[in-house]
């Protein structure tokens, strides 16, 4: 008798697993930058942030659940005073870490420290291959900061660090240049999808790629994308024909999720909204209780019906696209993605009235003055000589507890 064939992996994963395979963990909403499209609307620290002890308890849970890998981000995760402590704690407890950073604290010393830890990966955020394109979205000086970090990582012998790009109308013409930049530093290029999440909703209309650019991106990935990562964020492009590498699956609540700085658990980092809030790690059964038993995740793990998309020839690989993209553009979740390559999303958006209100993110930690914060990197000994009072739990300043000297001048947000 022929042996039975196992179902495709995608089918198995759509039902959810007993533990995530990996997840995103935003350590803080504090950030020195104020990127126009920030998916977590970061800037100001939330006073209710998990403490170091609470964060370690989460790591203990992840270890017990055998979550192999966490993507640590924020805000800017390295502005947390206990960032290195948590990084070391995670890797010492069988949880691999990749952290996403704008590079502000990747000094030569930091780079050397990272290069010596085999279980850490680093991802430098960059949204333009040139300073003008990048800084228009991420703020004046952010390109220079990122490049300095890349130089320091390369010089320290760090392997496999990544440059992570959010694809926009302005940088899609620079795909070859991004690849060249990555090659120059011995880094791996990562291209990901812009979602109308967080502040991304405010700039979505101007920044999201045009239909023609989506096609350009797809063609480029097929032709040049062999060593380019995408975080499986372009599975909606599989409707052009050939599916791109990856699971081609929305992992939200099934194989991935988000833990936010105050311990809230969301289906994914692009869906920070009460609609996609599953629970909080501070609840009695912790993160594992939320992952296993939350009503939201149970719902996401039941078979999804295509709704309006079910009759489309490409539904099997496109799956109706990104839940978060639909939600934050006010489209129904059982219909086409706003960037549906067949144009069905655009049609739906055009048909409804201009006055349609779209959901707003549940929280907004944006800095009110919308300026970037200049930092000067000082030597460690100079910093340690100053006595600092303990950080108040109510401190909202994004740099609360950070041992660096601000220059005292704010540059206008570009």
């Amino acid at each position: 008798m022929t042996a039975p064939t196992a179902p495709p992996l995608v089918d198995l994963f759509e039902r959810g697993l007993d533990a995530p395979i990996c997840l995103t963990w935003e350590l803080t909403y504090a950030c020195n930058l104020a990127c126009a499209h920030c998916l977590s609307s970061s800037g100001r620290r939330d006073p209710r942030e998990l403490s170091t002890a609470e964060a370690k308890a989460v790591i203990d849970e992840l270890e017990a659940m055998q979550v192999f890998y966490v993507n640590i981000g924020g805000g800017e995760p390295t502005v947390r005073a206990d960032f290195w402590e948590l990084l070391d704690y995670a890797t010492a407890h069988h949880v691999g870490v990749k952290f996403s950073t704008n590079g502000v604290r990747i000094t030569p010393d930091a780079a050397a420290r990272l290069a010596s830890n085999d279980y850490v990966d680093v991802q430098i955020s960059l949204d333009g291959a040139t300073a003008d394109v990048n800084d228009a979205v991420r703020g004046a000086g952010s390109y220079a900061t990122a490049l300095r970090a890349l130089e320091n990582l390369a010089a320290a012998g760090m392997r496999n660090f990544k440059i992570s790009v959010v694809c926009t109308r302005h940088n899609i013409p620079q795909l070859d240049d991004f690849k060249a930049l990555a090659d120059r530093f011995g880094a791996q290029l990562r291209l990901t999808r812009l979602r109308p999440s967080g502040r991304g909703a405010d700039v979505w209309d101007e920044l999201h790629p045009t239909a023609a650019q989506q096609r350009e991106l797809y063609d480029w990935l097929l032709a040049h994308g062999e060593n380019v990562l995408t975080g499986d964020s372009f599975f909606h492009l599989s409707a052009y024909g050939e599916a791109l590498p990856g699971l081609n699956l929305c992992g939200a609540g099934r194989v991935v999720c988000l833990i936010d700085p105050v311990g809230d658990v969301y289906a994914c980092p692009f869906a920070i909204h009460d609609e996609f809030l599953a629970g909080n790690v501070r609840e009695a059964d912790g993160f594992s209780g939320v992952w296993r038993d939350s009503e939201l995740f149970r719902r996401l793990r039941t078979p999804q019906h295509g709704g309006a998309c079910a009759s489309c020839a490409f539904y099997d690989t496109c799956k109706g696209g990104c839940m978060a993209a639909k939600f934050f553009t006010g489209l129904p979740l059982d219909g086409p993605d706003p960037e549906c390559v067949q144009g069905y999303g655009e049609q739906l958006l055009a048909r409804r009235g201009d006055g349609t209100r779209v959901p707003k993110p549940s929280g907004d930690h944006s800095r009110r003055s919308r300026t970037t914060v200049d930092l000067v990197l000082t030597r460690r000994e100079a910093v340690e000589q100053r006595a600092r009072p303990p950080v108040s739990d109510c401190a909202e300043h994004p740099l609360a507890g950070l041992d660096l000297t601000p220059t005292g001048k704010d540059t206008a947000h570009a």
């Binding site: 196992a6 992996l9 994963f13 990996c22 996403s100 975080g231 699956l249 194989v255 980092p269 692009f270």
Partner: protein
């Protein structure tokens, strides 16, 4: 995907496959194993 086979190949006569006697040796291991990049699932930075 490469063709893989054991060093001690089992003679075809011993492979009892009533439906497709010749296809057994062509079946890839994909039905038993799938490899994916840790970066290959959507919903993560």
């Amino acid at each position: 995907m490469s063709q893989l086979h054991a060093t001690s190949p089992v003679p075809a006569t011993e492979i009892q496959d009533e439906e497709n006697p010749d296809e057994q040796s062509l079946i890839e291991a994909d039905d038993l194993i799938e490899e994916v990049s840790i970066d290959g699932m959507c919903g993560v930075y």
